[in-house]
Symmetry: C2
Subunit: 340 residues, 2 copies
């Protein structure tokens, strides 16, 4: 079980790192571990949104993140239960590490920050709290079973990090859509990161009709311009009645990529009996989904979006390279968040 | 949308009844509604456990339930987000109700109490707080899309209610197991209500190897005696390492029926790549499942147990009638909870 990082759990002993209250962050590699010099954290969208709402930006949000990491030895948001991922360079590799990394490799971690031992050494002085991408100095630990992607040479790093952060979504969308013959597919949050990648993946996997639901006219315009969907619906994904009325005929597959709570019932009402819903948003409530489907007498299959699908990193980067519409949306988003 | 009960939402207006803070409980039927004279509430197991832990039994837990129902107009546990179901007799039927019920029919509701308008008129004086089955006088409302089962004449009512409370689990287990050829199936919590029904359903659906995981030697003895599984493992389902070691070879399908938090990672570790996990426990954490699978690099499909599958009530009652092992476990449980 050491390949799962059990030996790094400081409290309570015996649980897996994600369940742990506190991890051991000492920056010396165990036999199958890798030590990474961290350069940037990418906070999970639900986590960043929650922190922003509670703390605003500047010192307050910075201190909140530092407190969490100092207390727990990992960036594990206690409210949302979610983390994010990081970018860095390999510092040291244990002799039995199976990950195939070598010192100097620039990598992104594809396992959640909620289970990654993390030591911050610069007090996050370079972060102003306005972006989920957090410049950071410190060290992180990868275990034998961790997943990391060596950064591609042909894509700017922040862009690659943004794509890798959500790379499970298009890979699982591909798998679910391919099970059916030309299904109609609805993507809630189709203008966002995981949403636009999922639209492109659904198109490639043979979706018969592709609908993007977005919250605003501005976002609708962006999605229409890049041609990722056959139609675009403007509605608040948290309003089940508005979602159902906006979408019209129920669809075969619904992909939920909206990072705010309360989107379960709209997804259920929009999906036909016999259909499938994949929830990628970390703001999804298990109880709201389970009881919502029961209460609406909806015979839909509801899948918890697993961030790991074999080959997911290469698949998502390939979509970015080959689908100009995806790249346009990601680059526009980069410009927005960098304030340019 | 009136068939979903939107007109009964008092606060905030425009959401579905399950999301509502407060419902209108007035006991006059709308055109497509049914009014039920309530006889007994069956609290969801996760909800009852949480209430017991917070309030103990007697007056404190009784007042807690009364407070929730008075404040919200429904039995919607604010901590677990779950409810339960109820048993009663039809009092009045609106002229446009599509449910096919008539006054006097004795029924169990198969939609959650979290979306059922409920008015309690006897202060729950007949409930001592030691059982999730709560004798209750009052009225409840069914909507046009609600699901209710007329109680069968050949099964004692409390037993039927116990079965109907969890009838989604065996129906969905049947569907998932039938997708594969003689899969190995693990049921976490195989000695409980949904667990024993799921074991019987998996056997009928062609499971090749059937493993029950239970928390104690006593429960293991019960499951062994009735022959519902090929093998029985004793382990704490919340301890991923113990689950993985106890189960040994990873299985194709895992059904999670343990009504305590923290069982996600054990289920993931016990399931082979390419396998399927169905979470029926209302104590399941979406984030723990999603991030756990990612963190463990586990390529498993994780399904949110939907309490509604067409035909689920008849299927579960048929398992009780025809599988002596299931009936034995349910009757033993009845004797325990009734203190006999």
């Amino acid at each position: 079980m050491s390949s799962y990082g059990l030996h790094r759990v400081a409290e309570p002993v015996g649980v897996l790192p994600q369940q742990a209250q506190r991890l051991d962050t000492s920056p010396e590699p165990g036999p199958d571990e890798v030590v990474v010099d961290v350069e940037c954290l990418n906070l999970d969208a639900a986590s960043f949104r929650q922190l922003r709402e509670q703390y605003g930006d500047g010192d307050a949000i910075r201190n909140a993140v530092l407190d969490i990491v100092r207390t727990r030895g990992k960036m594990h948001n206690p409210v949302t239960g979610s983390g994010g991922m990081l970018l860095g360079a390999v510092r040291a590799v244990g002799p039995q590490s199976p990950l195939g990394l070598k010192p100097g490799d620039r990598i992104a971690t594809l396992v959640s920050l909620t289970l990654t031992p993390l030591l911050i050494t610069d007090d996050l002085v370079k972060w102003d709290g306005t972006s989920e991408q957090v410049p950071c100095e410190g060290t992180a630990i990868l275990f034998g079973r961790s997943i990391a992607a060596v950064l591609p040479g042909d894509i700017p790093e922040r862009l690659a990090l943004s794509v890798l952060d959500v790379c499970g979504a298009p890979a699982l969308t591909d798998r679910v859509v391919r099970r059916r013959s030309a299904p109609s597919v609805l993507v809630l949050g189709g203008g966002g990161k995981s949403g636009s990648l999922s639209l492109a993946a659904a198109r490639r996997a043979g979706a018969g009709k592709l609908i993007a639901l977005v919250p605003s006219e501005g976002e609708a315009k962006s999605v229409r311009e890049v041609g990722l969907a056959d139609s675009v619906v403007i509605a608040d994904a948290r309003d089940p009645v508005a979602v159902a009325e906006g979408v019209g005929d129920q669809v075969d597959v619904t992909i939920v990529c909206v990072d705010v709570p309360g989107c379960e019932h709209g997804a259920i009402l929009a999906t036909a009996d016999g259909g499938t819903i994949v929830f990628f948003s970390m703001a999804t409530s298990f109880a709201a989904a389970a009881l919502g489907a029961e209460g609406l007498a909806a015979d839909v299959e509801m899948i918890i979006g697993n961030g790991y699908v074999p080959g997911h990193a290469a698949f998502a980067l390939d979509l970015l390279r080959t689908e100009p519409g995806v790249r346009q949306l990601f680059e526009a988003r980069e410009r927005q968040t960098s304030g340019a």
